[in-house]
C-alpha cells in the first residue's frame, strides 16, 4: 500500500493566506459595523465561508491531497446544509 506523495507548501504561501484571512476578518468586522439590516448576517457568513474555504484548501491541504478528502469535507458540509434546510421547512412555515 503506497503512501501518497507529500506536497511541501512554501512558507510564503502560508503567510500570504494568513494575510488574506486577516484582511477578510477586518473586512467582515468593518462591514458589520455599518448597519445593512438583514444583509449583515449574509455578508458575515459569506466572508466566513470564504475564510473557511481558504483554511480547508491551503492550511488543511485539501487542494494538494487526494481529492477524496475534499469530497468528504464538501459532502459533510452539504449534509449539514440539507439538515438545516429541512429543519427550517418546519420553522419557516409554522
Amino acid at each position: 500500500m503506497e503512501n501518497e506523495k507529500h506536497h511541501i507548501v512554501s512558507y510564503s504561501t502560508y503567510l500570504l493566506i494568513l494575510a488574506l484571512l486577516l484582511v477578510l476578518t477586518v473586512v467582515s468586522v468593518a462591514v458589520t459595523q455599518i448597519n445593512l439590516g438583514t444583509l449583515t448576517v449574509t455578508i458575515a457568513l459569506f466572508i466566513a465561508g470564504i475564510k473557511s474555504a481558504l483554511v480547508l484548501a491551503i492550511f488543511m491541504h485539501l487542494k494538494f491531497d487526494n481529492k477524496m478528502y475534499a469530497f468528504m469535507a464538501i459532502g459533510v458540509v452539504l449534509l449539514i446544509g440539507i439538515m438545516i434546510f429541512i429543519t427550517f421547512l418546519d420553522y419557516l412555515y409554522r
Binding site: N3, T25, V26, A44, K51, V55, I84, T87
Partner: protein, 198 residues
Amino acid sequence: METHRDDTASKIGMWLFLLTEMLLFGGLFIVYSIYRYKNQEAFHQAAHELDVVVGTVNTAILLISSATVAMSISAIQLKNKKFALFLLGTTIVLGLVFLVNKYFEWGIKIQHHIYPGSEVMAQRGQGDILFFGLYYFMTGLHALHIIIGLVFIAVVFARIWNDKISHDNFALHENAGLYWHLVDLIWIFLFPLFYLIT
C-alpha cells in the same frame, strides 16, 4: 504481530474524526439558526453586549496560530527541526493567550451576572437566555477543543524534540495540525455568529 505503518490510514482516520466534529458543531448550528430565526431582535441586541474587539483579537490569534502550525509542517518536511519547534511553540502560546482572553471575557460577563440561571438572566427576555446559553455552550465546547488541541500539539512538540517525529515520519504532526485547523474553522463561524450579527 508485525505492525506496518500506514500514514494514509491514519490521515483518513483523522479526517473522518474531523467530520464527526463538524457534525457535532453542525448540530449546534442547527440549534443556533433556529433560535436566531425565532428571536431575531433579542439576538441582535444581545450580540451588542459581546466585545467585538476581544472577538476580533481572538480571531486573529487563532488564524495566526493556524498558520504557524501549517508552517511547522513544512518546516519539519524541510528538516528544519528548530524552526518547527519554534512555530509549534508559538502556536501553543497563542492558544493559551486565546484561552486567557476567553477567561477574562467570560469572567466579566459572569461578574455582570450574565450567565445561565442567574437572577439577571431570569429577568431578561427568553431570547437573551437562549443567546447567552448558546454563547456559553458553544464557545465553551470550542474552548474545550482548544485545550484538547493544545495537549495534542504539546505531544507533537515533545516528540519532535525527541526526534520521534522527523521529515519522513510526521503523520502525527500533520494530524495535530488538521485538528487545530478544524478548531480554527469552527471559530471562523462562531465569531460572526456571536459577535458580528449586531
